[in-house]
Symmetry: C2
Subunit: 418 residues, 2 copies
């Protein structure tokens, strides 16, 4: 069952705003076993929107359109739909009452642009008559069309609450389609290509996808079949084969992030953690605290962006900094110990490195990073070299640091350093 | 001068990967005075790509296509182009030599998938014969077609280095088009609508755009004209009018981020800063350190995610936490003082709040946040209430904290709290 997505707005074709809506809709539809064949983005232009709409109706079973539903001059989707599908505009009384209610609550008058929102194409059915945001559906030649707000939060709400359930209920006869994502860290593309080679002939009808997602790499396994149990069993089998080859590199299956995985493991083991960050500047703490409930295991950290702060806040010895430098194995180890002393957590994680673009030397070029983890009586540490710009080095360093925690808690070996 | 963008790849139509390429290309083209009329995203499917390509050639002056240039089975753009534009595939000797060189350097053999990359559509011209990544251009019926790699960094490099300069050199007769972006923080949509109303009749031919970019709002001013000086002068005049109305809310013009603005101001005033973060978990430090050279003014910080760490690392008094709670004006003020004592910086910034989704109470609901800034003998602070999910509350809090620094350094009043 296949469909299209049309996103509208000059802010999209001018590159001012990222098109989060098509991305979200495509992901949700795919995860539900549906297929998106085309995504078209056009500006607030009657002819371009009409053309996209007509073409989608000819070629697809469902069409999702976002944007153009508001009250500003750019918001002309109702008129375009009426014109493109040759329907008249009718005053939707329910919608008009809703608009009047809102205007009254805000103490403003009903202006023509506000009233315009209530003039909807003949046959339009409001998706959420109770809510404040607008959205409607239409049927044209058995094709379902959904018109959703351009504001991403509202669009997502409509998508999940109304559109997906309706489409899925209409097409129940679909064969089962299941997809699985494996997220890997620390293996480069050629080595992942090696996995696929190794698996050749052992993967039945499964379709593989490979998606670099810096600094992660994602592999998808997709399979269509008659029944859920058989499809799941086959996916399990092939996932097992992949895990046999590169198990420790797989940090998550499905949509868990590295920080969610680490958080879940810390919870399961009832352990606490703190972080001492130099080159990442707070990013490791930021990622850990993106997870709801992280205050249970993450107690705090320090950002030591100067030598003095490493001495003051972590009691790194001045002689260490003088002899080995701030970016050294000795320093990162003392950082982990100082952090653990500060916070009395089970684990203390530390990173120090050169994020660039300046600050590199011949011996310690930009991208040189040390990661350390104090756990029990041990301090684990490694030296790594990352490529890329400042943000990429920071991101890769935060990833490696979190991966240290994951591998430690899993009993897996750490990624080899340089 | 108008054109289209076509991005290809199953990872895009399935929503696995965000389409950063069309966003970047659209933004760069628009900023250069060109217009993008349509963005089409299709999977790795011969028919869909062919159709998009043919339609774009019919309707546009230039077409930018990304993806499908690599060596995997999905990478079939060369064949599709040949088929869609009715051209034969020819072995490009230069390209073949390049591939052989790379294979040799990596110690791998030339396989058919690698050789495939050297079979290019007749008339294709390599964009960067010296580089490692591939990309080529073609001319079909006076329409320029550019085929670029799907990897965002490579695509951006090609776009800026080869594609944009070529397109601009071909269409020099364009009238001048200049766009300006004003970034605002702390004004909601209705209040921004008020600005536009106030400006009615005073803005000549300038076209306005309004782009919410949570938690920022961006206003663009665009103007076409015969000559650069007159266009710039008129934009200056209207920007002046807007600044007269809402000057302190405008934190940046053009593409500076809040952290870049704050960093630049700290450098200019030769001042240092440190941060004490509770609910943001390191995000303020992360943002400050995203700016190259930030180690000059940002000395460090602490992430105090537990009451105990507020006591241990910042010497917040236990009685304060007991009487007023961790999320209170008293606590945020003591945090700023403790931070400044730790770091001896000119400014010490602190935030504490409830990011959610749990932890809210009736008196202190999720989204309640206190921001504090110690500067000289003063401590400035405010209480705010943000809406949204955990990440949004964190982001808004980090923004408000950085805005405190900006407004302090500017001598502007702080945003009113609750």
């Amino acid at each position: 069952m296949y469909g299209e997505i049309i996103t509208t707005g000059n802010e999209l074709t001018s590159g001012k705003t990222q098109d989060l809506n098509s991305w979200y809709a495509a992901g949700r539809l795919t995860a539900s076993g549906l297929r998106v064949t085309r995504i078209t983005t056009v500006g607030d232009d009657v002819d371009m929107v009409s053309e996209a709409l007509k073409k989608a109706v000819e070629a697809s079973r469902f069409v999702i359109v976002t944007g153009g539903l508001g009250s500003t001059d750019d918001d002309i989707i109702n008129e375009i739909v009426a014109k493109a599908l040759n329907r008249s505009l009718c005053l939707d009384k329910q919608m008009f009452e809703k608009i009047k209610g809102h205007a009254k609550a805000r103490g403003i008058e009903i202006t023509p642009p506000l009233e315009k929102m209530a003039w909807m194409p003949e046959g339009a059915k409001m998706l959420n008559p109770e809510g404040t945001a607008c959205g409607f559906s239409l049927v044209e030649n058995e094709v379902r069309l959904y018109f959703l707000p351009g504001v991403p939060d509202q669009m997502r709400y409509f998508m999940d609450k109304f559109v997906l359930p309706e489409i899925l209920s209409l097409y129940k006869t679909l064969p089962v389609m299941r997809q699985r994502i494996l997220k890997l860290y620390g293996l480069d593309e050629p080595r992942i290509a090696g996995i696929f080679k190794e698996l050749q002939g052992k993967t039945g009808d499964i379709v593989f996808g490979f998606y670099p997602h810096f600094p992660e790499n994602h592999i998808t396994l997709s399979l269509r079949g008659e029944g859920e149990p058989a499809v799941v069993k086959e996916l399990d089998r092939v996932e097992g084969e992949i895990r046999r080859l590169v198990g420790p590199y797989i940090f998550a299956a499905e949509n868990e992030s590295m920080e969610e995985v680490v958080g879940r493991m810390l919870m399961e083991k009832n352990m606490t953690i703190s972080v001492a960050e130099s080159c990442t500047g707070g990013l490791v703490g930021h990622r850990l605290t993106n997870v709801p409930g992280s205050s249970i295991y993450f107690l705090g950290g320090v950002i030591v962006y100067s030598n003095q702060s490493k001495i003051d806040l972590l009691h790194v010895r001045p002689e260490t900094l003088e002899t080995y430098g701030a970016v050294s194995d000795r320093t990162v180890k003392e950082m982990t110990l100082g952090m653990r002393e500060n916070s009395r957590t089970d684990l203390a994680l530390a990173v120090t490195g050169i994020a660039g673009p300046d600050g590199g030397t011949k011996e310690k070029p930009v991208g040189t990073v040390h990661v350390g983890l104090a756990a029990g009586n041990d301090i684990f540490s490694g030296k790594y070299r990352f490529w890329g710009n400042r943000r990429q080095v920071k991101l890769n360093t935060s990833m490696m640091a979190l991966d240290y925690v994951r591998r430690y808690l899993n009993g897996d070996p750490f990624l080899p350093g340089i």
